[in-house]
Each structure stands twice: as C-alpha cells, then as structure tokens.
C-alpha cells in the first residue's frame, strides 16, 4: 500500500482525504497557496508546503511545483481530490513519468472522458444510451434549426467549450433557437475563444442521477448505487441525496449494471462517476463521466458504509476489490447540502472574512468543513466552504435532521446560501421527491432566483 500521499488540493476535500490516510497509517503532505496559509487542512497533514501566490495557475494548478514537492517530501502517491488537476491527463501522465502513483484512472481514460464529443461516442459504443443530439459542431443557425426539427422541440443549445452552465440555452421554438444561436456563439467566442456549438433534444422535467463506480486494475468492477443531484443553481449542484427518491430497485440496478459495464469496457480503473439525465418515464441517458472523486461522495459512503477514499488508495496500490457486487449495502438515506459563500438571494459570490462560526452537531450529522471561525474566504477559489451531510433510517428522517442542522448553523461575516437551502428543504415538493433540475426556478418564489 502507498506510504506517503501528497494531497494536491485545498479546503474540505484535502481535510477529508487526510482523515482517511491517517486512519490507514499513511503519512500525508498538504500543499497550500499564500491565501490558505491558515487553512485547517494544512494543520491536519503531517507536513505542509507552500506552493506560491493565491492564483491557481501559480499554486494548485502548478503541476511541476507539486511534483517537485512530492519528490522532496518523498511521497509515493498523489491524491488530486476534485477540481484543479484531478481530471488533467497531462498531470496524471507526469506523475507516472516521475514514478509517483496518481490516485485515479489512467491518463488515456481521463483524456477520453474529458472530451465531450469523444466521450459520447465511446460511451455509446460501450452500451450507454445518449440523448438524441449531434456529436459534431453545427455549421450555422440554419443547420441548428434543421436538426431541431428532426429531434423535436424543445432543444438545448450548448457551447462546446462551455462549462459550469455557461453557454447552455434551452429553446422551445425556431425563433428562440436562432436568437440563442447568435448570442451563445458570440458569448462562447468571447469567454472561451471557441464558438463551436452543439444541439441536443431537451429532456423535460429531467433529473440528474449519477452512478458511483469502482474498478480495480485486475478487471473487477462494481457500482455503489446512485446519487440524485437534481437540485441545482446555475447548473451547479446544491443538494444531493442517496438513494434517489425517484428510482425503483429495478431501474437502479439496470443503471448500475450499464454504468459499470461501460466503465470496464473503456478500461476504467479507480473510483468514477457516470452522470445520467433521467426523464419522467425513468429513461436514462449518458451525460458525462467524472474521472475522479466527486464532491458529493460522502452520501454514498453513508448508505454503503464504504470509505471511497480508502478504496481509491487500495486500488491505486494495486489491490483487488474486497467486496462483491451483491455484498454492497444500501442502508438508510443520506442528504448533502453544499454550503456556499454566496448571497442567498442573488446567488452571487460573497468572499470575505468569517467572524463567527457555530456548527451543528448531533446524531446522523457529518460535516466536511473547510474553514474555521476566523477564516478569510478567498475570492480566488470555489465558493463552497463546507458540506453538511445528514443520514437517517429513511428519507423523512434524513430531511428532518438536515432542516434541524441547518437551522442551527451560523456563519457570520460573509453571506451564505443557508437560507436558500432551508427554503428548498421546507418545500412540500422536496418532501414529495419532486426534485427535478428545474426545482429552484419552479418552486422558489423569488424570481431573481431562476436557476440559469
């Protein structure tokens, strides 16, 4: 097994990975930027090294500096967490060249799944259904209109280089599509320097449901059920839960089998997530594969009792999976709420200094916290400061625990989305499981909160 791991990340996820390493007796090395000198995870690691200035290019994306530190500290493995270098095939390759184990899949697989078009083609070949759409860029607005007629309205127009919800627009008729085409292409060119556009059939009342997979380097694989992550703002997840309130056991198993079979066919190893969009008739379509640990992985851990970071490390160390598919538990229900430093009304970022922090504790509460009571939340990084996870014997109990925990959660000095989270959880539609990706726009009263 790996002996000393560098965590090429920051915040709550660095702390979470260090926790498992410590339990397994693996030594840990944290890296941090000047903005994170004081962050809790730098204290919990055995050693901590300064990367450089706050800007990510000079710190958490500085692959060569990270490798240099890994050598200096004599690490045999690097855990990339999520974001930053976690889905960077070149970095995974550089680790290999330097004789350090990258805890994740092979560079080839990362590269394949990182390209939208190629990933779609590969996964269709591997047996996963795709949303009707085209897997090459569109010539012009006329071609877009022609294709839309073929797929049937509504359609979704997407910028090839887009991400985080930028450059996606739903269109319900030709006039809207033509208008969106000009606007989105201009925007994509300006934002990403690439104006390539795609078109897909829009799935109505969609849910975002993803399957956690795990594969070792000996050809064995398993799925660890699903997470439903439909509650989103600006196409980013806000609340996730496992299992999905929407799937029945038969669909759950069918999706799980399809996901792990496809993952094995493309040569996937380590933990990964296949994201699906699921329509109102429980038909599922491949969206994308995330070749890393997911932000919301704790809810899977809560219902299965499996530590995914431990499994990642074991697989990366060459071990064979210890459990069989039929031995994976599915017990109780778990919900994760992402605590963002942002204005709950406008959903705009709210960086700044925390002046007071009072966190909930109690039965069924797990808290992945990236800050302390006087942290400066930097505008250089992602707004997520913590993840609150509640687990209960069933969904109503998990929801009740989450409502209670959030009500007792105080952060002062910066704005957070806690009021928004509470508002979501108190909606009857949430209790009823009507958790489609349109939830925030549909049910929350304030119109400025439309999700896109």
């Amino acid at each position: 097994m790996l002996k000393k791991i560098l965590i090429a990340n920051r915040g709550e996820i660095a702390g979470r990975i260090i926790r498992t390493c410590s339990r397994l007796g693996i030594r840990t090395v944290a890296v941090y930027s000047e903005a994170d000198q004081d962050a809790p995870y730098t204290k919990s690691a055995d050693e901590a090294f300064l990367l450089g200035p706050p800007r990510v290019q000079e710190s958490y994306l500085n692959a060569e500096k990270i490798l240099e530190i890994a050598h200096e500290a004599q690490c045999d493995g690097i855990h990339p967490g999520y974001g930053f270098l976690s889905e960077n095939a070149d970095f995974a390759k550089r680790c290999r060249e330097e004789g350090i184990t990258f805890i994740g899949p092979s560079p080839d697989v990362i590269s394949l799944m990182g390209k939208k078009v190629e990933a779609r083609i590969a996964m269709e070949k591997a047996g996963l259904p795709l949303v009707p759409g085209i897997s090459r860029s569109i010539k012009d607005a006329d071609e877009a209109a022609e294709l839309a007629l073929q797929f049937g309205y509504p359609v979704m127009l997407k910028a090839s280089a887009g991400g985080g919800g930028i450059g996606m627009q739903a269109c319900s008729n030709e006039a809207e599509l033509r208008k969106a085409y000009e606007g989105s292409q201009k925007r994509a060119l300006m934002f990403f320097g690439n104006g390539d556009m795609f078109l897909e059939k829009l799935i109505e009342n969609p849910r975002h449901i993803e399957i956690q997979v795990l594969a070792d380097s000996h050809g064995n694989g398993m799925y660890l059920w699903e997470r439903e992550c439909s509650i989103q703002r600006r196409h980013q997840k806000v609340i996730e839960e496992a299992p999905s309130p929407f799937l029945d056991q038969e669909t759950r198993e069918e999706m799980g089998r399809a996901a792990i079979e496809a993952a094995l066919k493309i040569g996937y190893t380590n933990a990964g997530t296949i994201e699906f969009i699921v329509d109102q008739d429980k038909k599922y379509y491949f969206l994308e594969m995330n070749t890393r640990l997911q932000v919301e992985h704790p809810i899977t851990e809560e219902i299965t009792g499996i530590d995914l970071v431990e499994e990642q490390i074991r697989v990366a160390s060459g071990e064979t999976l210890r459990l069989k598919q039929e031995e994976i538990p599915l017990e109780g229900h778990s919900i994760e709420a992402r605590i963002y430093a942002e204005d709950p009304k406008t959903m705009l970022p709210s960086p700044g200094k925390i002046t007071a922090l009072d966190i909930p504790e109690g039965e069924g509460i797990r808290h992945e916290l990236g800050v302390h009571s006087s942290s400066h939340v930097s505008h250089f990084y992602d707004p997520m400061i913590a993840k609150l996870v509640t687990t209960g014997k069933d969904r109503p109990e998990a929801i009740e625990r989450m409502k209670e925990a959030l009500a007792g959660y105080t952060v002062q000095g910066i704005k957070t989305n806690i009021p928004l989270l509470l508002e979501i959880l108190h909606q009857e539609a949430f209790s009823a499981g009507d958790t489609t990706t349109e939830f925030i726009g549909k049910y929350l009263t304030n119109n400025s909160r439309v999700s896109s």
């Binding site: 934002f191 970022p349 992602d382 707004p383």
Partner: protein, 70 residues
Amino acid sequence: MAEIRSNMAGSVWKILVSKGDKVHAGEDIIILESMKMEIPIAAEENGTITEVHVNEGDFVNDGDILAESE
C-alpha cells in the same frame, strides 16, 4: 450620467469597452470573476462610456463604481 457598479466582490477579468464607446442597455461592459464564476456586468442605459475606473486584474468590492456612461 449613469454609474455602472459591481454587484459582488471579486476581480476584474475582462473589460469589453473603452472610453468613447457607444453601448446599449443590456450590453456587457465588464466581466468580473469571483470564486470561479464569471459574472458579466451590463450597461443599464444606452449611452457613451465616459470613464472606465478599473483595470483588468483589479480587485473590486460589491458596489464599487466600475465605469460611467452618459
């Protein structure tokens, strides 16, 4: 005269106009970046840019005046 203000704390990522440019209401003037989000700031009225108060890379607070038009 209209003041174009920042609606969040962050840095100025891109400035899309210069002094003297004609702008329409709703047209993006400046793109701010904060916490991995790019937030375009648009002109609220038709007019001509009379002043740009910030440079790319500057840190701005919520409510700071970014540019003026008339």
